[in-house]
């Protein structure tokens, strides 16, 4: 039996343990984000900076202007294609991992995540080396006689999608793998016992029951892609303008911080809406399984 004084002491220590870390996140993440939210409602000052005179919705109106709305839609479609391709590659790969002996599964998952822990710029640069006019891929294609001229496969949206898929496919593998792990194998067995072939079992049983993993992976890839600025910049060669680049420009070249802040808030709103939908879908799926 612990005395209440001892328990209070423990409660106090626990709070003291958590305070510095949470405080750090509050000061260097929550407060800055709130400041950006506020700045989004003001206009830029004459010499850059912020004019704190009167609040305005002008920045958001400007973000809805077709000129900028197009960039949002373009980013969403590049991110959408990247997400789709990442799922098509990542899902079967995750499925194949679950067919391996357990010890090997851990090793394969680790290998799938390992590239994530190296420098993002270098992983992206590797594709510049491969895709440029004199790069390995063009040399191979010309050598095989498939094309006479080098193909323009770098500095366009193809290269951007490829770069995004390359960097984010590990997340899909991880998310789908953990969903497949949670799947009760008796469902698939029952389906087979009832005479369903492997394809039918996959489409009717396995895939529907792993949608939570698919959704989690998809949200991750989409969110990281739509806000990306390094990949469009390096692999798009300035020709592929995405929301990330637009925000970058407002802060480092146009020096219109309030407009950049408004664009960031729109991006955050899109992201939170997706996370919310994902959470709702996951809760529903859980409810269905328990029903």
């Amino acid at each position: 039996m612990r005395s209440s004084g001892q328990r209070d002491g423990l409660q106090l220590t626990t709070s003291l343990l958590m305070a510095p870390g949470l405080g750090w996140l509050a000061v260097f993440m929550v407060v800055p984000s709130l400041i950006v939210l506020v700045v989004a409602f003001y206009e830029r000052g004459v010499y850059g900076g912020v004019d704190w005179a009167t609040p305005t919705l002008e920045n958001f109106r400007r973000a809805a202007d077709p000129l900028y709305a197009t960039i949002f839609l373009d980013s969403a479609s590049v991110a959408g294609v990247a997400t789709l391709v990442a799922l098509l590659i990542g899902y079967p790969a995750a499925y194949a991992i679950t067919l391996q002996p357990p010890r090997r599964q851990t090793a394969l998952l680790f290998l799938a995540m390992l590239p994530f822990w190296t420098n993002y710029l270098i992983r992206t640069y590797a594709w510049i080396v491969l895709l440029n006019r004199e790069g390995l891929i063009n040399r191979l294609l010309i050598g095989a006689g498939l094309t006479a001229e080098p193909l323009p496969i770098l500095y366009n949206s193809f290269a951007v999608v490829l770069g995004l898929v390359y960097n984010y496919v590990p997340f899909v593998i991880l998310a789908v793998y953990s969903a497949l792990q949670r799947l009760d194998p008796s469902y698939a067995e029952a389906s087979r016992d009832l005479g369903a072939g492997p394809w039918v079992t996959f489409w009717r049983i396995t895939l529907p029951l792993t949608t939570s993993g698919v959704a989690a992976g998809a949200v991750f890839v989409f969110v990281l892609s739509i806000g990306n600025f390094v990949t469009p910049d390096l692999l798009g060669g300035g020709k592929v303008q995405m929301v990330g680049n637009l925000i970058y420009d407002q802060f480092l070249s146009a020096r219109d911080w309030p407009f950049g802040a408004a664009l960031s808030m729109v991006l955050m709103a899109v992201m939170m809406a997706l996370l919310f939908l994902n959470a709702v879908a996951a809760a529903r799926a859980r409810g269905r399984r328990h029903a």
């Binding site: 001892q6 423990l10 409660q11 626990t14 709070s15 343990l17 958590m18 510095p20 870390g21 949470l22 750090w24 996140l25 260097f28 993440m29 929550v30 800055p32 984000s33 950006v36 079967p92 194949a96 680790f110 290998l111 995540m113 390992l114 994530f116 822990w117 190296t118 420098n119 710029l121 270098i122 992983r123 992206t124 640069y125 590797a126 510049i128 080396v129 491969l130 440029n132 004199e134 790069g135 390995l136 390359y166 496919v169 997340f171 492997p198 969110v223 990281l224 806000g227 990306n228 600025f229 390094v230 990330g244 925000i247 970058y248 911080w257 950049g260 802040a261 960031s264 955050m268 992201m271």
Partner: protein, 257 residues
């Protein structure tokens, strides 16, 4: 079917590792990029080590990574113990998930605005303070995963035998969770050392606070050069070694971002 899936898995791993492997091979090519193989050479590594810019940028990155890792490891471990001792709340979980999912560019401009408004002079220290944000989240995740299987009755026993909270921590808790703390620190160091976007925005205008990723970015925008391949090879191998040691220490577990 099974064969087809295994083949697909093989192709996926080829897709993930071939670009890196080609980069490493080309870094030893005598004539450099991107033409045919002209013989083995380590000249590009020599050029790299002779560049004062690269040496200065590496030094800066080491300072930023070491200091942000030190702060984040202490705060993140404390936070993890606090959360696991009590029941975690959804708001704390959300706060810890946020740095992993907020687009880097948004966190970067938020921190730039914040530092500018409070009138801070930007430099290496503002990069380090900013890197602590995502590093706390990663350290907490790794240490929490270890604490899930921690037997809290050991702490209770220690207290019942009259040990104070600090003695209990030093003699019981710390030795048991130390491998995961070291693993977390190694991962945090890798993340901070490689981080580009937040560093780019919070470094300020001075040339003195250019980190290695910022230097690499400038070089890549300039074009494909053999020096970048050499540097890429060093960075890839160092990251792999750090992450592999973290994985060994942490008994095969790594957190998903």
């Amino acid at each position: 079917m099974r064969r087809l899936l295994t083949l697909q898995l093989g192709l996926t791993f080829a897709f993930l590792y071939l670009p890196i492997a080609i980069l490493i091979v080309l870094s030893f090519n005598r004539a450099g990029m991107p033409t045919a193989w002209t013989g083995f050479s380590v000249d590009w590594y020599g050029k790299l080590l002779a560049s004062p810019k690269i040496i200065a940028a590496t030094r800066n990155s080491l300072i930023v990574a070491a200091s942000s890792t030190a702060i984040a490891t202490v705060l993140g471990t404390m936070l993890a113990i606090g959360i696991e001792r009590r029941r975690s709340s959804p708001s704390v979980d959300a706060l810890l998930f946020a740095p992993m999912i907020i687009p880097d560019i948004v966190l970067a401009i938020a921190l730039l605005t914040f530092f500018t408004l409070i009138g801070a002079t930007l430099g290496l220290y503002s990069i380090a303070l900013s890197h602590v944000v995502f590093n706390i989240a990663f350290v907490t995740a790794v240490v929490r995963a270890r604490l899930k299987s921690f037997d809290w009755s050991l702490e209770e026993a220690s207290r019942d035998l009259g040990a104070g909270p600090w003695t209990t921590f030093r003699a019981i808790t710390l030795p048991l969770i130390l491998p995961s703390i070291v693993a977390a620190a190694l991962l945090a160091f890798t993340l901070s050392f490689d981080e580009f976007i937040i560093a780019y925005f919070t470094a300020g205008a001075g040339q003195g606070s250019t980190t290695l990723p910022m230097q690499i970015y400038a070089m890549i925008r300039f074009g494909v050069t053999p020096e970048i391949n050499a540097m890429a090879t060093i960075i890839i191998l160092v990251s792999f070694v750090l992450v592999l040691s973290a994985q060994r220490l942490n008994r095969g577990r790594l957190p998903g971002p």
